[in-house]
């Protein structure tokens, strides 16, 4: 029999005004097992806690019931109080007589009656409580960063600077992400490569950072602090240790028809290529679908010309198995496919380009060496129309666009308009926009500069149609402010296409059991208070993978995610939630039902020797890994033999509460 103490809190008048606390304490005295019962003004105060501690010692209490505010407020407080008096923290139960009683009911008699019932239920439960000891699990002091864009690079640098090992797994042949493709960056117009490439070099040279490029996560097991990842390092048909990045092979390759994805397909490249001059690692890669050797067994010019002997046509995908304590998702984004927008003639004319293509055209290292020319005929354009919100804030057709605002397009369009006007003052620039959204430090000033200083023609309205004519594009739109139809004969049209998460995000989310929203952006554990953590313990979020954002925001979030990872990796061990499931060996028949419903894969099976009145011998039994189990209880209900139960919320405890309430 337990020796139970009951402590009824007044919470000033919060409880005492509608619940007769003395009557509750008195009623509790008559419950079985209760050896002490009292009331006090503020149970959570230092004095209140001292009173609980003394009572635990004096009356040798084995269980404590606090009738007070919600356990969500002070359960942790009172558990600590119990510990300081030598009692196991899980021998404390809270009866919620404030949020779920005194604040709800105006009538004193009603409130008091209900409070007594709630106290009774808590007493009935505590009778069946057992001391629980939280287990611990070790922490592997290494982080995995998935995605090597600016988000991943910054997160990795910050974690590595704190002294922890980091692996960056990047699916492309080089790190750098989208930022490497940009020309200048708003709102300062500094050159993107000039600020990115030093960071890429820092990451490559950092002794704690290991870049695994041209690789993707194949599978993941484990849990916070103890993940095991299998990483598929795709065959690049080049020995990375031998390749010096001289680029001879890329010049000699006769198969020149591959679309250069770094330049958004605006020009072509050889079958063996290095994505861009500052690529990291600066190692070539062979596109086997394009390579003549892979198709016909002939050619091999690259192999003949590589003085380092780095070409390896027989290279195979490699699976690396690595252990991690924390994982950061930094998989970024891609622009949506603009060809769904027939009205803008994207598929019909090479002179209709997306903004990212435009970045490449304006970039000194791009396909036109930074010279602004029409893709169709290489001529200098005289009039350019920018169309904003192509596929963003698109609520009418979900197959075409996205319901959300892509956040960066207003700013980069202002940037593009300004860069054009700065370099080519003779070019007329029009921008069709729905709203110009410029919240951000120095953002509105930037946009106003485009309008006022650079004389960019901002037209509030939508473009109805772009038609391809003999020597130009005919743009037909509406000006909502002047309420008139506008016709422009443009040489180029630039579409500010919406951005969406990387197409691999959903599969990755499933692998990590990290939740994502309907648009496939990863969701945060709390939208305000835990913005860089995923609800899955040990998984953190960085950059556009979590939602559209620009570079400054990405870098800020990357640092925040790193801080969370460092906080985790600093610990030598993690305390686990002791309210976990466990199978009664005598009852379990190894049917595997529980394993199927567990969302965390916490249940495995073992052949165990069992000696019980019902069974003697070896049988297959469910074993719950207490470090993985999150204590949801799904398995306990599924179990057909009643073998699985949940500590802290056991079948008998819940039944006792039901009985007490229905008495």
């Amino acid at each position: 029999m337990q020796r139970i103490g009951v402590f009824v809190c007044w919470c000033g008048s919060n409880i005492a005004a509608t619940v007769d606390v003395k009557a509750v304490a008195e009623a509790a005295k008559h419950e079985p097992g209760v050896v002490f019962s009292t009331d006090y003004q503020y149970m959570c105060s230092e004095n209140g806690q001292a009173m609980i501690r003394e009572a635990i010692k004096e009356h040798r209490l084995t269980g404590v019931v606090i009738c007070s505010c919600s356990p969500r407020m002070h359960e942790a407080t009172f558990r600590k109080t119990a510990v300081s008096a030598g009692l196991n923290p899980y021998m404390v139960e809270i009866a919620n007589i404030r949020e779920q009683c005194s604040w709800i009911h105006k009538d004193m008699a009603e409130g008091t009656e209900k409070a007594i019932i709630l106290a009774r239920a808590a007493i009935a439960k505590v009778h069946l409580n057992a001391p629980l000891v939280a287990g611990t699990s070790p922490v592997t002091k290494r982080a995995l960063v998935i995605g090597g864009g600016i988000a991943g690079i910054q997160t990795a640098l910050d974690i590595a600077d704190a002294g922890f090992e980091v692996d960056i797994v990047e699916k492309a042949p080089t790190i750098g992400g989208r930022m490497a493709q940009l020309d200048k960056t708003f709102p300062t117009l500094d050159c993107s490569a000039c600020i990115l490439t030093p960071k890429m070099v820092d990451a490559a040279q950092h002794e704690k950072i290991n870049i695994i490029s041209y690789a993707e996560l194949d599978s993941l097991s484990g849990f916070v602090g103890n993940f095991t990842a299998k990483i598929r390092k795709k065959a690049r048909f080049i020995d990375e240790t031998k390749c010096t990045g001289c680029g001879i092979c890329t010049e000699k390759c006769p198969s020149r028809k591959g679309l250069n994805d770094f330049n958004m397909g605006l020009n072509t490249r050889g079958a063996v290529y290095i994505p861009f001059a500052q690529a990291i690692p600066n190692v070539a890669v062979i596109d086997s679908a394009q390579c003549i050797h892979f198709r016909t067994g002939k050619c091999g010019l690259c192999e003949k010309n590589c003085s380092a002997g780095a070409i390896k046509f027989d290279q195979k995908d490699e699976i690396l198995e690595r252990e991690y304590g924390a994982i950061v998702v930094a998989t970024g984004f891609k622009p949506i496919d603009a060809s769904a927008f027939n009205e803008y003639a994207y598929s019909d004319s090479p002179d209709v380009v997306t903004s990212l293509e435009f970045e490449r055209i304006m970039n000194a290292a791009g396909p036109t060496k930074g010279k602004l020319v029409r893709p169709s005929d290489g001529k200098h354009p005289h009039e350019i129309v920018f169309i904003q919100c192509v596929g963003s804030r698109c609520t009418e057709d979900a197959t075409k666009g996205k319901p959300y605002c892509s956040k960066i397009c207003c700013m980069y369009t202002a940037k593009h308009a300004m860069l054009v006007r700065e370099k080519y003052p003779d070019v007329k620039v029009h921008v069709f926009y729905i709203d110009a959204r410029t919240p951000g430090k120095n953002f509105d000033e930037f946009y106003r500069r485009a309008v006022e200083q650079y004389d960019v023609d901002y037209i509030k309205g939508m473009v109805g149609k772009v038609s391809v004519e003999q020597d130009h594009l005919h743009v037909q739109g509406s000006d909502l402010i002047n309420n008139e139809q506008i016709h422009i004969n443009a040489d180029m049209v630039v579409l500010a296409t919406a951005i969406e998460p990387d197409p691999t995000a959903r599969a990755l989310g499933t692998m990590l059991t990290a939740s994502m929203d309907t648009n496939d952006f990863f969701t945060e554990a709390h939208p305000k208070l835990r913005p860089v953590e995923s609800p899955t313990a040990g998984v953190f979020l960085s950059g556009v993978a979590q939602g559209p954002k620009d570079i400054p925001e990405t870098v800020a979030q990357a640092g925040a995610a790193a801080a969370k990872v460092i906080g985790l990796l600093c610990k030598n061990e993690l305390t686990c939630n002791p309210c976990v499931a466990h199978a009664n060996e005598a009852l379990c028949n190894g049917c595997s039902q529980c394993e199927r419903v567990c969302p965390y894969g916490a249940i495995t099976y073992e052949d165990k020797e069992v000696r019980s009145p019902e069974f003697r011998g070896i049988k297959r039994i469910a074993v719950v890994n207490g470090a993985i189990c999150q204590g949801c209880g799904a398995c306990t209900v599924t179990c057909p033999s009643g073998a699985m139960d949940l500590k802290g919320f056991s079948n008998s405890q819940i039944m006792a509460e039901v009985d007490a309430i229905c008495r």
């Binding site: 919600s70 356990p71 969500r72 919620n96 404030r98 949020e99 779920q100 009683c101 604040w103 709800i104 009911h105 105006k106 009538d107 009603e110 409130g111 009656e113 209900k114 019932i117 709630l118 239920a121 059991t513 939740s515 609800p535 309210c579 419903v597 969302p599 965390y600 999150q630 204590g631 949801c632 209880g633 799904a634 306990t636 209900v637 599924t638 949940l646 919320f649 079948n651 819940i654 039944m655 509460e657 039901v658 009985d659 309430i661 229905c662 008495r663």
Partner: protein, 145 residues
């Protein structure tokens, strides 16, 4: 419970810890009213609710039982409420077969932000049960101590 003019129903509400229990707390912080005959039992997730607990409540004289959990897709454990929904659908049709009116049981999704929905749900549920009157069926099975 004896039948007299003063009869009020006894209602057990199982609330998942992460959403609905917090929603119930919010109803309290907002000083919203619902009848005192609703008593809440906290469970980690709606999927912790064993149908036997519902049967037990009816055997012991509860007049109504309600399960509240996170909205579909929002379960703290991702999938718990989908299991709960399926299990309760099965249970409710069995209770129906046993002669316990369908209205005496309910599953409702209440988020941690929906204090008002929690209070409104409870007001409505209490009214439904009051209209249905005292529950006898399972007590008649002589299960009551």
């Amino acid at each position: 419970m004896s039948v007299n003019q003063e009869w009020t129903p006894n209602i057990v509400a199982f609330c998942c810890n992460w959403c609905s229990y917090a929603g119930a707390d919010l109803a309290g912080s907002g000083r919203m009213n619902y009848p005192a005959n609703v008593k809440i039992i906290r469970i980690p997730c709606s999927c912790r609710l064993n149908p036997l607990f519902v049967l037990r409540a009816f055997q012991r004289g509860a007049d109504g039982v309600i399960l509240c959990g996170c909205h579909p897709g929002d379960c703290h454990y991702s999938t718990g409420n989908y299991y709960a929904r399926r299990r309760m659908t099965m249970l409710f049709s069995m209770l129906d077969y046993l002669g316990i009116e369908r209205g005496r049981t309910r599953v409702e999704w209440v988020s941690a932000a929906e204090g008002a929905k929690f209070a409104a749900t409870m007001n409505d549920f209490v009214k439904t049960i009051t209209d249905l009157g005292e529950n006898k069926k399972l007590e008649d099975l002589r299960c009551k101590k």
